[in-house]
Amino acid sequence: MSQTLINAMADLDESVLVAEVNALKTQGVPALEIIQKLQEGMNIVGKRYEEKEYYLSELIMSAEIFKEAAALIGGDLAAGDAPSHGTFVMGTIYGDIHDIGKNIVTTVMSCNGFRVIDLGVDVSTAAYIEAIKEHKPQVVGISCLLTTAFDGMKECISSIEAAGLRDGLKILIGGGPCDQTTADYVGADAYCKTAQDSVEYSKKLMGVK
């Protein structure tokens, strides 16, 4: 049974996947077990993306299908106790409600074995600080689509530092108008042009091959 589910997730075959999840649910297979198989399929999605067999559209679609399947069994994307490479906290900075870039990065990081804490959009500095204290991430991602949000990013990063939380923590930024100039301005550790950049940076940081 499991391989069908894994393949359906990896091949983004939504109809097979939904049918299989419903069948497993009827058979009484524990939700956590189903979620873990879906996660295995997501790992293959991530690998295909790395190998350029899949593009961002497939990644985005995989997250949609995963969420749909998880909802069928009453789970969620972060469910399961599968081991992760580390924890990644991500949000769109306050003053900015755009979520497409943020959602792509959280999906790609999740596909690549990171535990992802998605703070949503229009995230306050206080919410970032609270999440860092609670989840103790190795990496924080801050995104924006507006140049007017740059000052918010800068303030947020300064406040994280002032709160004594910057040691051992790396902060990445990204989003439509961002580049290295922005990273320098806001005091980030790195600028990620693509979602894959955030994966490579984090893997390197955590010594993942």
Binding site: L12, E14, Y54, L56, S57, T147, P177
Partner: protein, 377 residues
């Protein structure tokens, strides 16, 4: 400093035809920055047409070298964008604080079933339904807003000409993929691409044909036959080259050729990273379109690939203009004008819009670069 010998209209036409120009066309996209430059709150700029246009006048007065206006405000002015705009929008002074930038919020306003509206009834009924769902507009409000917006459109063209500028485009439209993805949402659109490609293609083909007819009618009214065409979701940043070859490139050719047949030059406003798609654009007719880039695509590679084939518009980056220095802007503008402008075909511009929070000294450096590096006479 030498003086201009070409009119703005002669200059932009020559640039599109890859012919010599007296100096580079200077065509930054200026919207919300103008309000900040004029010292007004963005709520006034976004809600009050006269104040908005007055602010843009002030930028032109300060920088007379700004000779071509890629105008956009008739599409963005709050009273109509929140009734008939192609995206749900939060505006300063109403949903946002008084001096905030407006923000667009994409969601699944239209379902997969709604695509049948396009196939069975056409684009207009689909847009009507979108406005009802996205903005809560009534049909009466929509029908009242359309002619009012058309008046602003005509007014923006008139004011552009009155300032002594060429309208970089006189009409604004979107590609089939952009129309569908922005109304369906990016996520649902990508599902459609994978799950119902044939139906989706038929839908986008119909949108393309109706867009051509609509823009041709508008061009007849404005008398200037250049069209803005937004397309930010067809690039290899998002979709595979296989999908591009099979679905998106044929639609692109249909749109460009269709507009060309109506004597309209499309300015392809291609946000996102098109670097891997550049070679394909050689399949579009030479000197019959302009490629406008936002900073995500490697514009220097675009010149290597498409130099001698089409004019290229762009792309001083938003980040540089907002948090960089005048020296950064000057150095980039120099490289842009000297490399992309070599042999002609550059329409010197910002990467998408001038940031609302661009530093004034950076904007000055942007304009100053035209006389420093962009004079050929």
């Amino acid at each position: 400093m030498t003086k201009d010998v070409m009119t703005p209209e002669e200059r932009i036409q020559a640039a599109i035809n890859l012919e010599p120009v007296d100096r580079v066309v200077c065509a930054p996209m200026i919207d919300q920055y103008a309000g900040q430059f004029a010292g007004m709150l963005n709520k006034d700029f976004m809600h009050d047409w006269e104040k908005c246009m007055g602010a843009i006048d002030k930028v032109k007065e300060a920088y007379p070298i700004w000779d071509s206006n890629p105008f956009i405000m008739c599409e963005r002015i709050a009273p109509y964008m929140q009734i008939i705009g192609l995206m749900r929008t939060k505006m300063p002074g109403t949903e946002l604080e008084d001096n905030a930038s407006f923000q667009m919020h994409e969601f699944e306003a239209m379902t997969r079933e709604d695509l049948d509206i396009i196939l069975n009834e056409g684009l207009f009924p689909y847009i009507i339904k979108f406005c009802q769902v996205s903005h809560g507009s009534t049909v009466e409000q929509i029908m009242a807003a359309l002619p009012e917006k058309a008046k602003l459109h005509a007014d923006e063209v008139r004011r552009t000409l009155a300032r002594g500028q060429s309208p970089t485009w006189s009409i604004l439209g979107g590609s089939g993929p952009d129309v569908i993805s922005m109304t369906r949402s990016l996520e649902k659109y990508f599902r459609d691409v994978r799950q119902i490609p044939d139906k989706l293609y038929a839908v986008m083909e119909r949108v393309t044909d109706e867009m051509i007819a609509l823009l041709a009618a508008q061009a007849d009214q404005t008398g200037i036959r250049r069209a803005f065409i937004g397309d930010s979701r067809s690039s290899a940043q998002w979709l595979s080259l296989k999908v591009f070859e099979n679905m998106l490139l044929p639609l692109m050719k249909r749109l460009v050729n269709g507009l060309n047949e109506k004597n309209i030059i499309p300015i392809l406003h291609y946000d996102s990273d098109w670097t891997d798609n550049l070679e394909y654009l050689l399949q579009l007719p030479a000197k019959k379109f302009v490629l406008q880039l936002d900073g995500a695509t490697d514009i220097f590679k675009a010149k290597d690939v498409l130099g001698g084939h089409c004019a290229i518009m762009g792309d001083v980056h938003a980040s540089m203009l907002s948090v960089g220095s005048p020296d950064d802007v000057d150095a980039y503008a120099k490289k842009l004008i000297q490399y992309v402008g070599k042999g002609g075909g550059l329409i010197y511009s910002t990467g998408c819009c001038m940031p609302m929070n661009a530093k004034h000294e950076n904007v000055k450096a942007f304009f100053d670069a035209v006389d420093k590096y962009g004079r050929y006479n």
